[in-house]
């Protein structure tokens, strides 16, 4: 059973930065969609070097919508 880890930073203005760890392949994109449903619109995406490794790490910025 794989462990997923999320580093979430809520800025003082309410903007959200999400750092996803523990996903392989496109699994992290599914996680991103889930957080979009919770938080809001995706504004920016940065793929770190780890994204291209077997165990990927991707950074997302999400805008509050709901």
């Amino acid at each position: 059973m794989p462990q997923r880890e999320f580093d979430i930073t809520i800025g003082k203005d309410g903007s959200v930065e999400l750092h996803v760890k523990g996903y392989k392949g496109k699994g992290c994109l599914e996680a991103m969609k889930m957080f979009q449903q919770i938080v809001g619109e995706l504004k920016e995406e940065q793929r770190t070097n780890e994204y291209y490794e077997p165990e990927e790490q991707v950074r997302f910025n999400i805008d509050q919508r709901h």
Partner: protein, 153 residues
């Protein structure tokens, strides 16, 4: 990035209380009678600044009913309300402060309210999905950092 708040009044007012408390404010009034008394007192000889919370919508099942909450600190009173269209706004009043100071105080609290709303929504949704918050800290710049873990089947 500009956060958007779409909230029912109870969720919005809960965020106001949490944000105000974290910045040292006290809830002065939330009922109509108390609020009228508080607003009248705050307006006597005071400067007054009106601000809007951009991209906000406070939804309610009681259309037409005015809803407000007022907080105070060091002679400054900030009243949050929603207009008929649902836009959230705040009115800052206080003696002995410049308009710029009142505006800065209002914007500081306004941002904190949006941050608290996002925090409460995230925490509620993540707990409902079985996520575990294993670390939480507030940085010197007032950003909130969370480390969350989830085991998947």
């Amino acid at each position: 990035m500009t956060p958007v708040v779409i909230a029912a009044w109870p969720a919005f007012s809960a965020a106001v209380v949490a944000a105000a408390t974290s910045l040292g404010y006290q809830v002065a009034a939330s009922g109509a009678a108390d609020l009228a008394k508080s607003t009248a007192a705050a307006q006597t000889g005071s400067k007054r600044i009106q601000l809007e919370i951009e991209n906000s919508e406070v939804v309610t099942g009681q259309l037409g009913r005015e809803q407000k909450i007022s907080v105070t600190k060091d002679g400054v009173t900030i009243t949050f309300s929603r207009d008929a269209r649902g836009q959230a706004s705040l009115c800052v009043t206080g003696e002995g402060h410049s308009n710029e100071e009142l505006r800065a105080l209002g914007e500081e609290l306004s941002q904190a309210v949006v941050q608290q709303y996002v925090y409460q929504k995230l925490m509620g949704e993540m707990q409902a999905r079985g996520f575990n918050v294993v670390e939480e800290e507030t940085s010197a710049d007032r950003s909130i950092r969370l480390k969350v873990r989830h085991w998947e089947n």
